[in-house]
């Protein structure tokens, strides 16, 4: 109790000394950031992991990291880069989760365990189409999981609609190198995808 009070006092004093050291989140500011980015973060994570519940859980993790480590949106050094920071962390967290799942599945397959994909049927949709789409998604994710994480991250961010400028800012690289990085990432993805499923599809 006493410890909490002390820490609390520290934070309040830090807040009052405006500008010196790291800023402290206040509820209003953090809530604004949360509400502003939450939906898009969940959507990005859903693309990566393909499961809504997991996406929401991971989004919670991302914001918790943001709460503890992220630059404050008002701090002068990192002006307006909080969104980029969140996307970077979210894609990375998603890819890590994807790789963990892929690893687990490999072990299970080696152990001979059954490997059923659960397809959540949504109302008024064609179940067959759902299954086919789910299979396509699974293949993309499988290829993503075995790629180099940084390249997978770049692909996902690019496919989430970020411009070259935003990509460079988010990933902290020079804008001029994005083209090269992207070309390499796409080449690697295609290679893995063809290795996995090239014999089945005309592509």
């Amino acid at each position: 109790m006493i410890a909490t009070q002390e820490r609390l006092g520290e934070r309040i004093s830090a807040e009052s000394q405006n500008g010196s050291g790291r800023e402290v989140w206040t509820e209003a500011v953090f809530e604004r950031v949360f509400l502003q980015h939450y939906s898009r973060i969940v959507a990005v994570l859903f693309r990566v992991v393909g499961d809504r519940a997991q996406a929401e859980e991971l989004a919670g993790d991302v914001f918790w990291k943001a709460y503890r480590k992220a630059p404050h949106p008002d701090s002068p050094l990192e002006q307006n880069n909080l969104g980029g920071w969140l996307y970077r962390v979210a894609t990375r967290v998603g890819i890590d989760a994807l790789r963990a799942v892929a690893r687990r599945k490999r072990y299970e397959q080696e152990a001979g365990a059954a490997n059923y994909e659960s397809v959540e049927a949504s109302p008024n949709s064609d179940p067959l189409a759902d299954v086919l789409r789910e299979e396509k998604r699974r293949r993309v994710r499988e290829a993503l999981a075995i790629m180099k994480p940084a390249r997978a991250q770049l692909l996902i961010l690019r496919q989430s609609g970020l411009s070259y400028q935003e990509l460079a800012q988010t990933l902290g690289v020079k804008p001029g190198s994005i083209g090269t990085l992207l070309a390499r990432a796409e080449a690697e993805f295609e290679k893995h995808y063809r290795e996995l499923y090239g014999h089945e599809e005309g592509l």
């Binding site: 609390l8 509400l35 939450y38 859903f46 693309r47 070259y164 083209g179 070309a183 796409e186």
Partner: protein
């Protein structure tokens, strides 16, 4: 000529290059076959990846994106990480829950202003009285407000349950007692014998109590000595014998029939006992006729026999009471066969009841049918069918071939079937699956011999059996006759 690297080409495809650079790239592409091929590769690859990743984007049904969802998520986030807690915020504004100074803590100023009782104990009686008086004077005339304040602060008092208080007081007293036992007891009794009158009363009370205890003790002793409370036996002469009940005949143990008698299988073909038993019982018959008994079917079985089977029609053309022809045996063996009465393996000859005696059909004595004796059917003695003596009532048919397995049209029609219920344990342990039971669907519409083919834990198998017992069905029919068949039942257990 220097070819362009893939990064530049990629950027050019996305239109990210500055205008002049884009123009020079176009210029180069127009000349360089190699780079044109290269950019085609990059382009088709990029298109393929775009198409594949487009599949990843969530459908509207898969993900909800609105402010409400985000707000709810934020509330959950706050709660799960215990940040921006309301308590903590209030604490910043210096209003904190106050615990009363039962353990000599310093009193928060706010409490001492409103409740004089809340003063620290070190301040002594005089101080407390003085403070109380001051409080009283200062609060005089604004009584209502003071009460209100006290009411509003009541929630701050430690909420102690009776048990907790008892425990606390016991601990305190035990400490006192351990420190100075004599003094503790002395203190306890001090109030009891302070005046001569009190002392007298105490002595009188003690004496009364002792006498009362002595009385009770003596009563118990006396009761023990005289066996008080044990009922006396009634003298024998008051009993009169009203009737002597016949001692029930013990069921004779079944005996085996002749060695060549066909044996029944799997019990239930007509028998009423659940477990298959050896085929027992037999028939008899004959009416001293020269010709052997005629071929035909046997009549129904009954527990009594009024009208023995016979081949010729009854002489009374218009009887007032019609008794169907019966054989003695288990009614379960009845099959309602159509056709004239006669032996199954009888002669294809003019109607004859056979050379036996006793009124039945066949070669031997008795009112039954067949070669044996007695009112049954077959070669043995007594009731029922088969080769041996009739056994107490169950038995099985001699020519039994076992229970058929349901197939095709020969299967019972289930008219009512319950859903098996979940048990609480199974629900908690998320047990799902199916229980498969195999049972004989008797010709009488009841279920026998339920076996578990595949079970589930946590009482689900029992629940399935329970549900199976409540099944209602129309028995299977073969050649116009209801027969028992074995069939499997499956009960599904699914949580959702």
């Amino acid at each position: 000529m220097i070819c362009l690297d893939e990064g530049i080409l990629r950027e050019h495809l996305d239109g990210e290059l500055p205008r002049e650079q884009a123009m020079s790239v176009e210029h180069h592409l127009a000349q360089c076959e190699e780079c044109r091929e290269q950019i085609e590769v990059i382009k088709s690859r990029s298109q393929m990846i775009n198409a594949l990743f487009a599949e990843l984007s969530p459908a509207s049904s898969e993900i909800r994106q609105d402010a409400f969802v985000a707000r709810r998520a934020f509330a959950q986030f706050k709660a799960s990480h215990a940040i921006f807690d309301d308590d903590v915020e209030v604490a910043g504004a210096a209003i904190r829950p106050i615990i009363f100074p039962l353990n000599n803590e310093a009193v928060p100023a706010i409490a001492s202003l409103t409740l004089s009782l809340a003063l620290p104990e070190e301040s002594g009686l005089l101080m407390r009285l003085a403070a109380g008086a001051k409080q009283f004077v200062s609060d005089f005339g604004k009584r209502r407000q003071r009460v209100q304040t006290a009411e509003s602060l009541r929630f701050m008092l430690p909420d102690e349950s009776f048990i907790v208080r008892l425990k606390r007081e016991f601990i305190v007293n035990a400490q006192e007692f351990r420190r100075d036992p004599m003094n503790f007891i002395g203190q306890l009794l001090a109030g009891e014998a302070s005046t001569p009158r009190r002392r007298r009363l105490m002595q009188a009370g003690t004496a009364t109590a002792m006498i009362a205890y002595a009385c009770i003790f003596t009563t118990f002793l006396l009761a023990g000595a005289f066996k008080f409370g044990v009922k006396e036996k009634l003298p024998d002469d008051k009993l009169t014998v009203i009737q002597m009940l016949p001692t029930p005949a013990t069921e004779s143990t079944p005996q085996n029939g002749p060695a060549d008698a066909p044996k029944g299988k799997d019990g239930l073909k007509g028998g009423s006992k659940l477990k298959p038993e050896k085929s027992q019982g037999g028939g008899s018959g004959g009416k001293n006729e020269a010709t052997p008994a005629t071929q035909g079917v046997k009549p129904q079985y009954s527990v009594f026999q009024i009208n023995p089977p016979r081949v010729e029609p009854p002489t009374n053309a218009h009887p007032k009471f019609i008794f169907p022809e019966t054989l003695i045996g288990d009614p379960m063996l009845s099959r309602n066969l159509p056709g004239p009465t006669g032996l199954k393996d009888g002669a294809d000859a003019p109607p004859s009841n056979g050379p036996g005696s006793g009124g039945g059909i066949g070669n031997n004595t008795g009112t039954g049918m067949g070669d044996g004796k007695g009112p049954g059917y077959g070669r043995g003695e007594g009731g029922n069918e088969g080769g041996g003596l009739r056994d107490g009532g169950g038995g099985c048919c001699g020519d039994g071939t076992g229970v058929e397995v349901a197939r095709g049209n020969i299967r019972p029609i289930i008219t009512y079937r319950e859903k098996a219920k979940y048990t609480e344990e199974a629900r908690q342990n998320h047990v799902q699956g199916s229980v498969v039971l195999s049972a004989i669907f008797g010709s009488d519409g009841k279920l026998y011999n339920i076996r578990i083919v595949r079970g589930l834990p946590f009482g689900l198998t029992e629940k399935a059996i329970e549900a199976a017992r409540n099944i209602q069905f129309r028995p299977a029919v073969k050649n116009g006759v209801t027969i028992p068949v074995r069939m499997t039942l499956e009960f599904n257990f699914a949580l959702y």
